[in-house]
Each structure stands twice: as structure tokens, then as C-alpha cells.
């Protein structure tokens, strides 16, 4: 840290504006989304019909199972189940 005069401190504070609140909230909700992902993967492994529905039309099957249509979730399911 160079020096602590007012001008330096002010410029340092200016360098870190907050990102949009919605971005922060979405990142904070990652554990919730992850839990949803784990449930889907578990069910797909236990329920052959559900797995086949996911293979046939992933987004539709997820929506049918009550999940919000979310491209990130769909992609994560694809990766986890190697679809």
C-alpha cells in the first residue's frame, strides 16, 4: 500500500463499486441451485423413465418435474449425467 492520504484512500474506494445486486444474489444462491441439481441427478439415476425423459428433451423434462427453466441448470445436468 503506497500511502494513506485522503486522495489515495478515496481512489482506492472508488475502484471497488458494487456489482448489480441481482448478480450477487444469484451467486449467493448457488448452494440452493446445487441442491436442486443433486436431487435431479439422484432421481435420474434411480428413475429410468425420468432419465429417458431427460435424454429425450432435457429442458421439458426439467420443467415437467417442477424446475425453473434455467439454461445453467440444464447444462449442469447434462454434464453430471453425461447426456
Amino acid at each position: 500500500m503506497r500511502n494513506h492520504d485522503e486522495e489515495t484512500l478515496a481512489s482506492m474506494l472508488r475502484m471497488l463499486p458494487a456489482p448489480p445486486e441481482a448478480w450477487v444474489q444469484a451467486a449467493q444462491e448457488i448452494p440452493l441451485a446445487q441442491r436442486g441439481l443433486d436431487q435431479i441427478v439422484e432421481r435420474a439415476r434411480a428413475d429410468l423413465a425420468f432419465r429417458e425423459a431427460l435424454i429425450a428433451d432435457l429442458e421439458r423434462a426439467l420443467e415437467g418435474a417442477g424446475y425453473e427453466p434455467d439454461p445453467a441448470l440444464a447444462e449442469a445436468v447434462r454434464v453430471r449425467l453425461s447426456l
Binding site: M1, L9, M12, M15, A27, Q34
Partner: protein, 184 residues
């Protein structure tokens, strides 16, 4: 003064599955990740949002692989840098450009690291100081707006900012870098 949990303590709680700790971790580093994406790599808002979400998604997934819990900040910086470069490379391929790395990105990240130290000191200040300094400098709010939000006469804002900057300087100068590094 507020007592602030160290990065290592916060990471340990996240690893133990404490979702409040995860929320706190995102809050603590969200400005840093955002600033790297938009200031060091000059990403568009849409690209910056994608990188921002991907950084935290990967961080959540790979937190167990972090070897030194105190190193969460450089780890996030590296992750952000890599994802920003991937984004820029994808754009450069479309435009047949060679090097997507913006000039001075390393210097900008070094400055952001210094800014994070100031921001950490800010977090240790009393709430009234923290809020007024953040609103004025980081959020670029006017005296009038701050006065309305905090129910203060606008004429007193400048002097309060000045007093809070002195407290911030005292907080920074009172910190012992050697003990902070070994604090765990």
C-alpha cells in the same frame, strides 16, 4: 469497530456447508471479481455477468481443492482472470485478433488488490462510517442523496466523510501486516 472474520475462517465455514458463510464469501469478494472483469479485462456487462457467475459457481464446486484457505483472494483472481481471457479469446477468434489480453491488466489487478486491503479496513469501521464512505466513493452518490438515505443534513456530509477517512487511515495504519498474514 467491527470484528471481521479472516478469509481462512470464512472459507472453513463454507467448506463445512454453512450457507450463511457462502453468502458472506460472495459478498466479500463480489466487488473484486466484478472489478477484475470490467476494469482489468474491460468485459461488456453481459460477458462480465457470465464470468462473475461462473467464477462463483466454480469456486463453490472446487472450494475443497483450495490448499491454503488464506489464499482465497488470489485463487479467485486467477479464476476470474482465466475466465475473462477465455471470453476474450472467443471474441478474438471471431475477429481474428491475436492477443486478447488488455494492456496493463496485471497492474490493474495489483491496484485492485490494494483496494481490497482498503476495503477490508473499511469493513472494520463502525457502520455509519462504512456506509457513508461506501455511498460517496464506491457508489458515487451525491451529498443530497446520502443525506436523505441516512437522515443527515447534507451540510454535515463532507465533514463526516473527512472524519471517517481519518478513521479509515487509522485502521489501516494500526494493522500489522505480519500478524495479519499469520493470523490463519
Amino acid at each position: 469497530m467491527n470484528v471481521i472474520e479472516t478469509d481462512a475462517q470464512l472459507v472453513a465455514r463454507c467448506r463445512a456447508g454453512d450457507e450463511d458463510a457462502w453468502r458472506e464469501l460472495v459478498e466479500r469478494f463480489s466487488r473484486y471479481v466484478f472489478a477484475i472483469a470490467v476494469q482489468a479485462y474491460r468485459l461488456s456487462e453481459a460477458d462480465a455477468e457470465d464470468v462473475f457467475q461462473e467464477v462463483f459457481a466454480r469456486a463453490y464446486e472446487n472450494l475443497n481443492k483450495l490448499r491454503d484457505d488464506n489464499a482465497i483472494r488470489p485463487w479467485l483472481a486467477q479464476l476470474t482472470r482465466r475466465l475473462c481471457l477465455d471470453t476474450l479469446r472467443a471474441g478474438a477468434r471471431e475477429q481474428a485478433e491475436e492477443s486478447p489480453e488488455p494492456a496493463g491488466s496485471d497492474d490493474t489487478i495489483a491496484q485492485l488488490d490494494e483496494a481490497m486491503i482498503v476495503h477490508e479496513a473499511l469493513a472494520a469501521l463502525p457502520d455509519n462510517c462504512r456506509e457513508i464512505l461506501d455511498r460517496f466513493f464506491a457508489q458515487d452518490e451525491s451529498y443530497r442523496h446520502i443525506g436523505e438515505a441516512l437522515d443527515l443534513p447534507p451540510g454535515t456530509i463532507a465533514s463526516r466523510i473527512s472524519r471517517c477517512l481519518v478513521k479509515l487511515r487509522d485502521e489501516l495504519e494500526g494493522r500489522n501486516p505480519a500478524s495479519a498474514q499469520s493470523g490463519g
